[in-house]
Symmetry: C2
Subunit: 190 residues, 2 copies
């Protein structure tokens, strides 16, 4: 995590996701109402991942363990202030995903499943209250986008670093020699 400026990343992802203080406040306000159903969202999430062979391979045999960290994150979505510390935490979660070789598309695929489940919950809990429904759905959309953006940013950085390690291992080249060559290469005209 030495190669990322957390302040820049935080501002960028807050802006890109449209996650305003007002939206964060909205999530805090609905937490009490939605909280009792969050465990069901986590359970459904892992049920769905178990049906897809490619994702099933990554979760088999440790679903109970994974559910614990997942439900903790899901609760946090409604109580977090989405500050720099939280950005750092999400960035680290992205790193962990890379280290277990989880394909990059899993992040946004997973977010969509969760968004689908929470949308059902929100529309049904606030049925008939169009303005409220919309306000919560927009806040949720931004919060999930924020998480997805930070995790993917970490993913990109870590995955490329791993790729370089792989190249170095394959060729038997030292990191020092590579860095020297890269320095020469970057000075080449054209």
């Amino acid at each position: 995590m030495t190669d990322v400026n957390l302040q820049t990343l935080h501002l960028y992802t807050r802006q890109f996701s449209g996650l305003t203080e007002e939206k964060i406040q909205t999530l805090h306000e609905v937490y009490e109402t939605l909280q009792p159903d969050l465990q069901q969202v986590t359970d459904t999430f892992y049920e769905q991942l178990s049906l897809i062979p490619k994702t099933k391979a990554f979760i088999e045999g440790r679903i109970d363990q994974l559910k614990l960290t997942h439900i903790a994150w899901l609760n946090e979505l409604f109580v977090s202030n989405f500050d720099e510390d939280y950005t750092a935490k999400l960035y680290k979660i992205g790193d962990v995903h890379v280290k277990v070789n989880l394909p990059v598309e899993f992040v946004s695929g997973a977010m969509s499943i969760i968004q689908g489940e929470l949308t059902i919950l929100i529309v049904q809990k606030y049925t008939g209250q169009t303005d409220k429904q919309l306000k919560i759905l927009e806040a949720l959309n931004s919060a999930l986008s924020f998480c997805s953006l930070v995790m993917q940013e970490s993913y990109q950085t870590s995955a490329l670093a791993e790729e370089l390690d792989k190249f170095l291992n394959i060729t038997g080249m030292s990191r020092k020699l590579f860095d020297n060559l890269a320095r020469v290469y970057s000075k080449k005209p054209g």
Copy 2:
């Protein structure tokens, strides 16, 4: 695109996104109602990207051109059958994004902006019709997830290929030598 099995990718992304035939049918059914407002979604989308320095840099000076391809894709979201041909098309769009060096998180960041805008449209157009709202929102969530998954899959493949090219350029190593070394490396125990 030689390194991807389209049939496998199509089935995988359909399943992961939960995009059923019923949901595709739902999108077809609401197209007529939503179509008049889609141009506004595209316009708002580029307005928002113009406010973020990192994304602004990629669209400046060619927004009118970009809007044409964007609105075409947005319309397609409501008329496509999301078959293998459409998967191939999206995979190619992912490739184009890599070639202009668009950061990977742009894909899901962009999808969230669009999902936010379309959610406003759907909730307002079908106000008071909770079941219908929910049905359309779930269909939209799956369709956007499908697009995001396919584009990111392409992204990953292309970005890693570009990374290898960069490595070969820096080290001055031929692709043939690298491939030979990789073959030897992959046979090494442990």
